[in-house]
C-alpha cells in the first residue's frame, strides 16, 4: 500500500551525490590528487551514482510504499557511512564533507517523514 512520504532533504542528498561524483572524476584524472587511476575513487563514484538514483526516487516519488521508503532510508544511510569511511581512507575531505551534507539531507527526510506520520495519526485520532 502506497502512502505519501516526505521528499524533504532529497535534493540535498542529490547535491551531495553530484559533488561526490564530480570530485571522484576529478581525482581519477588528476595526478596532483594522488588518486589518479585508483579503484577507490571508482568505488566511491559508483556509490555516489547509486545515492543519486536513490535520492531522485525519494524526491520524485512522494507516494511510495513503506518497503520502498525503508529501503531508500537504509540504503542511503549505508551509502553515506561507506562513502565517509572511503573518503577518510582516501584522505579526501571533500568526499567526507559531501557525505556530511547527505547526512543532513537524510536527517531532514527522516525527521520530516516522522513528523508527517505524526500529523496523519493526529488527524485520524481527531476524526475518532
Amino acid at each position: 500500500m502506497t502512502q505519501r512520504h516526505s521528499t524533504r532533504g532529497a535534493w540535498l542528498i542529490m547535491l551531495a551525490s553530484l559533488i561526490t561524483i564530480a570530485i571522484c572524476v576529478y581525482d581519477y584524472y588528476t595526478p596532483e590528487t594522488g588518486l589518479i587511476g585508483t579503484g577507490g575513487v571508482i568505488t566511491v563514484a559508483v556509490a555516489g551514482a547509486l545515492m543519486l538514483m536513490a535520492s531522485l526516487t525519494m524526491g520524485l516519488v512522494a507516494n511510495r510504499g513503506c518497503f520502498l521508503q525503508g529501503f531508500l532510508v537504509v540504503s542511503i544511510l549505508l551509502d553515506i557511512i561507506g562513502s565517509s569511511v572511503a573518503g577518510y581512507f582516501l584522505e579526501s575531505p571533500v568526499i567526507m564533507a559531501a557525505q556530511a551534507l547527505a547526512l543532513i539531507g537524510w536527517l531532514i527526510n527522516v525527521i520530516g517523514d516522522a513528523a508527517e506520520r505524526s500529523v496523519e495519526i493526529d488527524e485520524v485520532e481527531d476524526e475518532d
Binding site: 590528487t33 581512507f89 564533507a97 556530511a100
Partner: protein, 641 residues
C-alpha cells in the same frame, strides 16, 4: 583506537574539514637569509662521501610548511606494461644546471630555477625489451681540475642497460669525441668472461679526480655461472680502461659469477680510497657449487680509486644464500669518540645491521661478533655456521619477523597463519629450503640502495629501512624442469638458477587480498648519533596506499630511495608507496610538510642553492616493486618569493 575514533567522528568533522579546504591556506613566506653560498649536488650521494648533506639553511623547520612547487619538467620517458620504466635518478646540480638521466637513456639539462630544458642528449637505447629492463639511476658529473681550451672539460655520463657508457659535454650536450668511440665506451667489450648477458649500467659511476669507478647490474638468479662481478676504473676524459678489480677469485669463475657492485660507490677525497658495496655470488639462493670462501663477496671493499688495488675488505655476510647484497654506498663520517676522531664509514645493510668501520683499516668501530645461525637442510648446501652481527648501534631489524597480522589472517580465513606454520622460520639467516623458508629480512628488507644521510656537523645519521619478510623456496631441478621447462623466469617468482641443482621461487608473504601477512610497521626511519652510536628516534615513514586508500601512518611504507639532510635540521625523503615527498624534523622525526608527486620518488632528492634560493628536487619515476604508478616527472620545490 585513534583511527576508529576518527572514523566514527569523521561525519561530524566532515563539514569542518570541507570548510578548511575552502579557506586559502596561509603560508609561512618568511625565509631565512639569502646568504647561503651556491651549493652543488654533483654526485648520486650528494657528494663523494655519500652523505646526502646540504649546508643550505633557507628552508627551516619553521618555514618548511610554506614550501611550494617551483617547477616541474616531464621528460616523456615513461612506459608501463611489458617494458615498464624504473626511474630512480637523483638529479644532479652542477655547472649551474640540473642534470638527470632517464630509463630511456636520455640526459636532460634544465635550468635550475625554471625547469626549462637547456639541452637533451639521447644515448639511443633501443627503448625496447632490454635484457634487464628500462632502468636508470641518473648521471655522473666530472669537471677537469685544470681545464684546457675547448669542449668536454666538464662532462656528464650516462650508462645504458646494454652496457654502453656515454660521455657528453656538460655545456652543450654534444658527445665528447675523445671519450671512447665518438663519446661511447662499450663496457661489454671488457666483460667477456662467462658473458651470459650484456651488463646493465644502471648506477652512474663514482668520480674521483680523473677516474670513473664503474660497477654494473646483472641477472644473478638465472644461471649458476654468470658474468663475474668486475669493477672498472676508467679515464674520465678518454674512456680508456685504467684498472679492473675482480671480486670473484679466478679459480671460482667457472663455478659462479656476479658478486658485482650495482649500487653507489663512495670515495674518500683525502685518501683516494673508493668503497665498494659488493653483492652476492650467483646463483643467489643455492651455494652448493660455490662453497669455497670468497672474501670480497657480500662485503665492503676499499680499493685505491686510481689503481684498483685492494686496501682492505670486510665481508658482512658469509656464503650468502639470501641475496642480501651490500647495496648502498657507505656513508663516510668522522666519529668523535673518546677524545679522538675516527675516520669511519657507515654501511647500513639489507640485514638491517649498522656496520661502522674505520675506513682506513676496515676494523669495526663498534664490535662485530660472529653469531651462530641455523644449518641448511638442503643436500650439498653448507650454510655458514656463524654470521657477522652488530649489536650496537641498535640494529634496524629485529632477529625474528613480526607476528602474523591478525587482521590479514582473519580476513583471509586463517591463510596467513596456516602458511606460516608450513614453512621454516628460525629468524635471521634461516636458509632457503624445499618446503619454503621465511627470509627475514629479505632481499627487499633492511636498507635499500639509497642508504642513509649524514649531517657531518652533528654526526646525526638518518636512514630509512624496510621490515619485510619474503618466502624463499628451492625447487629441485627435476621438478623445475618439469614445471617450467627452459624458462629462465616465470611470473610466479620462479628463477631458474640454470646449471645448479635447484631452481628458486620468491614469494611475497601476502594473503589472498594482497594484504601483508605480518604485523606493521612495514617501513621505518631511524636517527642515530654517530659519535655515541645511540639511537635517537625511530618512527614509521610513509604510508601504504592500495587502490587509492591510505593506510594508517603508524604502518609506515616500504621505501625505495633515500633521505637527504640539511644543515637547517630537515630531512627530505620521497621513497614511499604513497607518491608523497616529505620534510621531517631531524630532531624529532615528525613530518612537517608533505606533497603529492606523480609517482613514488624512488631516489634521494637533490638539495641545491641557485641565485640565493634553495631548491629541493625529486625525480618522481616510480618503481613497479612499490606500485604500478610510474611517471617522468622531475619536480623542484622552494619557498615562495
Amino acid at each position: 583506537m585513534k583511527i576508529r575514533n576518527f572514523v566514527l567522528g569523521a561525519l561530524g568533522l566532515a563539514a569542518a574539514a570541507a570548510a578548511v579546504t575552502l579557506v586559502p591556506m596561509q603560508h609561512a613566506t618568511a625565509q631565512g637569509g639569502n646568504s647561503d653560498p651556491a651549493q652543488t649536488w654533483d654526485a648520486f650521494g650528494g657528494n663523494q662521501q655519500a652523505q646526502k648533506y646540504s649546508t643550505a639553511t633557507q628552508i627551516t623547520p619553521d618555514n618548511v610548511k610554506g614550501l611550494k612547487m617551483a617547477w616541474e619538467f616531464h621528460t616523456g620517458d615513461v612506459s608501463s606494461g611489458a617494458h615498464s620504466t624504473t626511474w630512480g635518478a637523483t638529479p644532479l646540480f652542477a655547472n649551474n644546471t640540473v642534470y638527470t638521466g632517464t630509463p630511456k637513456y636520455n640526459i636532460f639539462a634544465v635550468e635550475p630555477d625554471t625547469g626549462k630544458m637547456k639541452w637533451k642528449y639521447s644515448a639511443n637505447g633501443n627503448n625496447g625489451d632490454e635484457n634487464q629492463g628500462l632502468k636508470n639511476r641518473g648521471v655522473a658529473y666530472w669537471a677537469a681540475a685544470n681545464p684546457t681550451a675547448g669542449a668536454c672539460q666538464k662532462m656528464v655520463y650516462i650508462g645504458t642497460m646494454t652496457g654502453e657508457l656515454h660521455g657528453v659535454d656538460a655545456d652543450s650536450g654534444k658527445p665528447c669525441a675523445g671519450f671512447g668511440k665518438n663519446g661511447v665506451v662499450d663496457v661489454n667489450a671488457w666483460a667477456t668472461k662467462n658473458s651470459k648477458w650484456k651488463i646493465g649500467l644502471i648506477q652512474p659511476p663514482a668520480v674521483y679526480k680523473d677516474t670513473l669507478i664503474l660497477g654494473w647490474a646483472g641477472n644473478d638468479w638465472v644461471y649458476k655461472t654468470e658474468n663475474p662481478g668486475t669493477v672498472y676504473g676508467i679515464d674520465a676524459r678518454t674512456g680508456a680502461l685504467k684498472w679492473t678489480f675482480n671480486i670473484i677469485p679466478d679459480d671460482m669463475m667457472n663455478q659462479t659469477g656476479t658478486a658485482n657492485v650495482w649500487a653507489g660507490i663512495s670515495v674518500d677525497p683525502e685518501t683516494g680510497l673508493a668503497f665498494l658495496p659488493t653483492s652476492s655470488p650467483s646463483p643467489n639462493y643455492y651455494g652448493g657449487d660455490r662453497l669455497k670462501e670468497m672474501p670480497y663477496a657480500t662485503a665492503t671493499v676499499a680499493v685505491n680509486a686510481e689503481t684498483g688495488e685492494v686496501k682492505w675488505a670486510r665481508q658482512l655476510v658469509h656464503h650468502d644464500i639470501w641475496d642480501v647484497d651490500i647495496n648502498s654506498a657507505p656513508t663516510l663520517v668522522d666519529i668523535k669518540k673518546d677524545g679522538q676522531v675516527i675516520p669511519a664509514l657507515i654501511q647500513a645493510n639489507k640485514m638491517g645491521l649498522m656496520v661502522v668501520l674505520n675506513r682506513n683499516t676496515g676494523e669495526p668501530v663498534w664490535p662485530i661478533v660472529e653469531r651462530a645461525y641455523p644449518a641448511s637442510d638442503i643436500a650439498g648446501e653448507v650454510a655458514s655456521k656463524t654470521q657477522p652481527f652488530v649489536p650496537y648501534p641498535e640494529p634496524l631489524v629485529a632477529e625474528h619477523m613480526p607476528p602474523v597480522s591478525k587482521l590479514a589472517d582473519i580476513l583471509s580465513f586463517g591463510e596467513c597463519s596456516r602458511w606460516k606454520a608450513r614453512i621454516r622460520d628460525e629468524g635471521r639467516y634461516t636458509p632457503p629450503s624445499v618446503r619454503g623458508s621465511i627470509s627475514w629480512p629479505a632481499t627487499l628488507g633492511g636498507v635499500e640502495w639509497g642508504g642513509g644521510a649524514l649531517d657531518p656537523t652533528t654526526n646525526t645519521y638518518v636512514v630509512n629501512s624496510n621490515l619485510v619478510p619474503q618466502i624463499y623456496t628451492l625447487v629441485p631441478r627435476a621438478d623445475a624442469d618439469k614445471k617450467y621447462g627452459n624458462a629462465l623466469r616465470a611470473r610466479d617468482g620462479y628463477a631458474a638458477q640454470q646449471g645448479s641443482a635447484y631452481g628458486f621461487k620468491l614469494e611475497n608473504f601476502l594473503n589472498m587480498w594482497g594484504m601483508p601477512c605480518w604485523a606493521p610497521p612495514y617501513g621505518i626511519m631511524s636517527s642515530y648519533d654517530m659519535n655515541s652510536g645511540k639511537l635517537l628516534w625511530r618512527k614509521p615513514v610513509g604510508q601504504v596506499q592500495k587502490w587509492g586508500f591510505y593506510m594508517p601512518e603508524s604502518w609506515g611504507s616500504i621505501t625505495i630511495g633515500a633521505p637527504a639532510i640539511t644543515k637547517s635540521g630537515l630531512v627530505f625523503i620521497g621513497a614511499s608507496m604513497d607518491s608523497r615527498v616529505r620534510a621531517i624534523d631531524v630532531k624529532t622525526g615528525n613530518v612537517l610538510w608533505k606533497h603529492i608527486v606523480d609517482a613514488p620518488a624512488v631516489a634521494q632528492p637533490a638539495v641545491y642553492t641557485y641565485k640565493g634560493k634553495q631548491y629541493v628536487a625529486f625525480a618522481a619515476g616510480g618503481n613497479g616493486i612499490l606500485t604500478p604508478r610510474l611517471s617522468d616527472q622531475l619536480v623542484a620545490f622552494a619557498l615562495p618569493n
